[in-house]
Amino acid sequence: MNRINLTLQSLREKRRKALVTYIVSGDPSPGATVAAMHALVDAGADIIELGVPFSDPMAEGPVIQRGHERALAQGASLRKTLAYVSEFRARDANTPVVLMGYANPVERMGYKHFAQLAKEAGVDGLLTVDLPLEEGGELDTCLQEAGLENIFLVAPTTSSARIKDICEAARGFVYCVSFKGVTGADRLDVEAIAENLAGVKSVAKTPVLVGFGIKDAASAKQIGKLSDGVVVGSALVNAMAQNSGNLDAIIHALASIIQPMRHALDELVEISL
């Protein structure tokens, strides 16, 4: 069984919420990525989402855009991202790693080739922001053959018929976008999310996680209450950028964001028990 499913299943059994953490591969410096991945796990992350830098990250807000730019300026690439995952796997055999990025670098490498290399490196799933269901068939086949999960986004604007189709195709988990906007924006509307989530959860066969706009313990708890877990990204990318050049400081900064979120999510277990 894929590490994503194992992890989410085990969380579900313990009635715990998933904490997914996003950082950009190669940002703020090539040496930071693997150390940061371990630090995130140590601080309580359940799944690592590694952003694959792209020259035109259309769905990202300013914080993550800068992360992509910093990484690319230092030679980051999909190949190097896969190398980081291999390096991470040498010490961590269990934490799922999902790559999140844009279609073109994967397309340039070739879908089949990518899927093989990703599997070998120890990747568990892929989320391609600009590859909606209709265009993703060929890549999906290649991912399935390699035993990789295909993570899809559901947006607040997605029709209920489409939500059904997406949930049908989704493997691993469904990533529910909390609002209309780019990553890192400050527009969280809990009531609206609750309404959207109800529709998604009623048809989802996998856990449903929520991302965009979740930045601290309070927002994690609010959204964690409604979903199977949350994704945090911009807050981490920002913290890493501000401590650029000092790996210890980066690790400390990540822990100081993740630990309170972990606690807040774990408090929800007690409530539900």
Binding site: F54, D56, P57, E69, S77, N104, E107, T157, V177, K180
Partner: protein, 408 residues
Amino acid sequence: MNKKVSDSQIDYSAFPDERGHFGAYGGRFVSETLIYALDELKDMYTRLKNDASFQAEIDQDLAHYVGRPSPIYFAERLSQKLGGAKIALKREDLNHTGAHKVNNTIGQALLAKHSGKTRIIAETGAGQHGVASATVAARLGLECVVYMGAEDVQRQALNVYRMKLLGATVVPVESGSRTLKDAMNEAMRDWVTNVDNTFYIIGTVAGPHPYPQLVRDFNAVVGREARRQCLEQFGKLPEALVACVGGGSNAIGLFHPFLNDHDVRMYGVEAGGDGVETGRHAAPLNDGVPGVLHGNRTYLMEDEDGQIIETHSISAGLDYPGVGPEHSWLKDIGRVQYVAANDDEAMHAFRELTQVEGIMPALESSHAVAHAIKLAPTMRRDDIILVNLSGRGDKDILTVAKIDGIEI
């Protein structure tokens, strides 16, 4: 990729297919939030496209606001000087706002009006599409925000001020390479955020379905007129069509109504910059590979890792690493030949047309003129080359002066 097939059986009007594909190209590569807005736009366009009153509304605006039909002018002195085929110019430079861009913004603004959305956004490179969008927004009383690369804001100060005079807000984009492609990224980000009240007017035949189709349809008035005018003025269709290709909206507008005229040869002219062989250019159809950017699959300028690379052209309007998906398809099936004219050739053509015919072309259109200058001497004297003179050169005077070492 470049397999030539007989095109005689292709019904060009049947493309794109239902999901926006031109062969392997086009489609919809956007984040999930925008799918709904694209579906909504597609449904509305499908409904209005064949609606007589909507078409009448467009025709009325094109006649009385834009000043259509634009004439076809026989460039007799230039033709004589070159000693070959007759060069004729489709005078899109005479349109209101000075380029073909307004054909599209008139159409999309009417779609915006019918959609009930109150806010228009647009991306712009040289500023022509920004000006054309700000113009129609002013006329319809809609809020208009134009995204423009910070580099381009500096290079095209005149157009920035024009947009501001028209009441638009111009937002300089500081991300990435700070040019047109980044402006398009930023417009997409705005759209995803304000999708409820905002209509995105894309300026070229690229982007997610249905944009390549509807921008083509709105610009196809150029080719429909030209076809009729050629028959009237010359008693026959031209032997060759020539148009510059950045995103490719003026080219597809001219070409599309002629695609089933199998004896009409077509040349799309990309920006060769310092020369295609130098790698410093904006010619993805000459020297790129298929990939995915800005919502569609098409030929792109990218590196081995699939990162989009910087482009180089004297003409800001052609300085774009992608191209409309229909052009990618027309290249692969061999219906259109895609060539390049470099900066020097375009500058030479700019001066020739200005001095021999008294018509100052936009630097974009100068690329098309440059190819016609190469082509004419290789053809017979009774052959006709129709060049799409897609815009006028007033906006480029400062650029040209700089090349001449003159400060204005």
